[in-house]
């Protein structure tokens, strides 16, 4: 099929462009900031599986990011060094928590689902806050080491160098992105999208909508947990703020400013958010004011996110070209 072939070719070009962009990013901005962009990129893509694809308006995603960060962080702070095991634990931590919270929340819709996930987020926050002996409470979980990967024949991979850690984050980012994009085009993704548009219709076609939504919630929890683990390792501390509901607000905001209709949107959103935060904080100590204004302006004038802006600009340019003819 020529059409399928052409599509695949376009996908390869896009994938190559993405790899090139990820490789070039640390040359443009400081390497730790670049790492943070990728980590929040992973987190925002996972959130977009819920918000954009499944239409599940979760306002408690920071709980899963935090769960992964604290589980992996505790493991690594205790003197264990296996990075794959730490990431596995983080994913499991985020996933199990998401399964619990999701199983209780998924049947509620609209503002009730939002408020339930928000309340669970706060509950997790206060549990971590109070459980000082394990989590470090208010001061955060310090002493997190980055862990190593043992490879046969090649020896031990270490990530103490920030560029090496960036490479690790880059691999995990690209893998997550590939998985999530592929997932949105799979039967699972298409049916989730259908359920977002009309849950009742989708049920009447024989799909168990709640089970599918729960699966999406757990998948997002696993990926968010892994992102949280990376975050803890990056700064060698898991701050309590990372579990606060404001973290859930920020990640949803990244998704909304980038655009929900493709996985590129949340990545763009995360990049702009982290970059703007850095830029504004250099300019002015009252930088959250600028951030707040930016949020308001984008939400009012670009409800479809930056992807929508690109679409509008290219439509405008093609119209211009036609007029010239």
């Amino acid at each position: 099929m020529p059409k399928g072939g052409a599509l695949a070719a376009a996908d390869i070009v896009r994938a190559a462009a993405m790899v090139a962009a990820v490789a070039a990013l640390p040359l443009v901005i400081p390497v730790n900031i670049a790492t943070e962009v990728l980590i929040y990129g992973i987190f925002a893509m996972a959130t977009n599986l819920l918000v954009g694809t499944a239409g599940l308006y979760s306002f408690g995603q920071a709980a899963f990011f935090g769960a992964g960060g604290y589980v992996a962080g505790y493991f690594l702070a205790q003197g264990f060094v296996s990075l794959p095991l730490a990431l596995l634990l983080a994913g499991a931590g985020g996933g199990v928590l998401a399964a619990l919270i999701g199983a209780l929340s998924i049947r509620r819709t609209g503002i009730y689902f939002m408020m339930l996930t928000f309340a669970f987020n706060q509950l997790v926050f206060y549990v971590i806050y109070s459980w000082q002996s394990v989590t470090g409470g208010e001061d955060g979980l310090a002493g997190i080491r980055r862990g190593t990967i043992e490879l046969p024949f090649l020896g031990t991979l270490k990530f103490d160098d920030n560029r090496a850690f960036y490479a690790l984050a880059a691999v995990l980012f690209l893998v997550s992105m590939a998985i999530l994009i592929r997932m949105t085009r799979s039967p699972f993704g298409l049916v989730l999208d259908a359920a977002r548009q009309n849950a009742r219709r989708t049920t009447s076609l024989g799909y168990s909508v709640h089970a599918l939504q729960l699966a999406a919630f757990v998948i997002a929890g696993v990926i968010s947990g892994i992102a949280g683990a990376l975050f803890g390792m990056l700064y060698r501390i898991m701050p309590i703020d990372a579990v606060h509901w404001t973290g859930s607000a920020y990640v949803v905001f990244m998704v909304l400013i980038g655009g929900q209709r493709s996985m590129l949107g949340p990545v763009l959103g995360a990049a702009i958010f982290i970059w703007l935060q850095g830029l504004f904080s250099l300019v002015w100590t009252r930088w959250p004011l600028l951030l707040g204004l930016f949020v308001i302006v984008v939400m009012i004038y670009l409800p479809g996110g930056l992807l929508d802006l690109f679409a509008r600009v290219s439509a405008w340019r093609s119209r211009l070209r036609e007029q010239r003819r």
Partner: protein, 286 residues
């Protein structure tokens, strides 16, 4: 022990009344404009700062409370004209994020206006000390704050239940699609609702000033709890928030005796259980 519990009970009622004021404001805004006002905490902080400035300028404390109410109501007007009216048609999540952005702006403006150091204020002479009830001591200010909240809440209740304006408000909440045909200027009604709700948040902030002082971030946790109260009371019930506010304040205060570390977590647990068992809230109808 009994003494401690009754003292906490009194304290809980006072805090609960402030929660009730906050959540009642949220409830009015949710009912009329159908938006979750995530800038409510920032308006609460604004109220505390305005009250501080008013009393520092020599005004009596009750006048300071009025300034807090009026100033926050004005801020509500500005918020509606500059932000809220543009996102009214959107979904809850975009609305929430937009208002969250507005809260960031307000909080930073507070820091610019009043500086980064938290402010504290002791109540006027008349409201210091305690009233001895025999079995327990009630701090005078706590009695005043509770009474004041109760009066304002009753006043707003009368306004909504007994006046023509109130009839419009009720119509706007119960049959938003009908209000247009009643010949009411819907936009003005929504603005009034936004101002009233915001004003109540400001008043709550003013009342909280002698208890907790004023900091730019004081609104975040207060707002989170106000949403809990709103949900427990029932999103569809205008007055449920008042009873739920009292309940949450008392439960939280009593829990600080039993399990101090868990007192806030318990509140969220209660909210979760209520949402799961009775999603329409304690006082909401299906």
């Amino acid at each position: 022990m009994l003494w401690l519990i009754s003292a906490q009970l009194v304290n809980g009622i006072a805090i609960g009344m402030i929660y009730a004021l906050m959540a009642f404001g949220l409830s009015i805004i949710k009912g009329l404009l159908n938006i979750p006002n995530f800038a409510h905490g920032a308006l609460y902080a604004l109220g505390a700062y305005l009250c501080y400035s008013a009393v520092s300028a020599g005004l009596p404390f009750p006048a300071g409370l009025f300034v807090a109410f009026a100033g926050a109501a004005l801020a509500g007007l500005v918020l509606d004209r500059l932000v809220v009216r543009f996102v009214r048609a959107g979904g809850y999540l975009p609305q929430l994020i937009t208002l969250f952005g507005a809260a960031l702006v307000i909080e930073q403006l507070l820091l610019i206006g009043w500086g980064t150091i938290g402010l504290s204020y002791s109540p006027p002479e008349l409201l210091r000390g305690s009233i001895d009830l025999g079995f327990t001591l009630v701090p005078r200010y706590i009695a005043f704050a509770s009474l004041c909240s109760a009066l304002v809440i009753s006043g707003v209740w009368l306004l909504i239940e007994r006046t023509r304006f109130g009839a419009w408000v009720r119509a706007g909440i119960e049959r938003p699609e009908m209000t247009q045909s009643l010949g009411i200027n819907v936009d003005l009604l929504l603005i009034a609702g936004m101002m009233l709700g915001a004003g109540l948040a400001g008043l709550a902030g003013g009342l909280a000033l002698p208890l907790m002082g004023a900091t730019s971030t004081m609104g975040g946790d207060m707002m989170a709890i106000a949403f809990v109260v709103l949900v427990i009371g029932g999103l569809g019930s205008l007055y449920g928030a008042i009873a739920a506010g009292l309940m949450v304040g008392v439960v939280q205060s009593l829990m600080t005796v039993a399990a101090p570390a868990a007192s806030t977590a318990i509140i969220y647990l209660v909210m979760i259980v209520i949402l799961l068992v009775r999603p329409q809230g304690l006082f909401g109808e299906r």
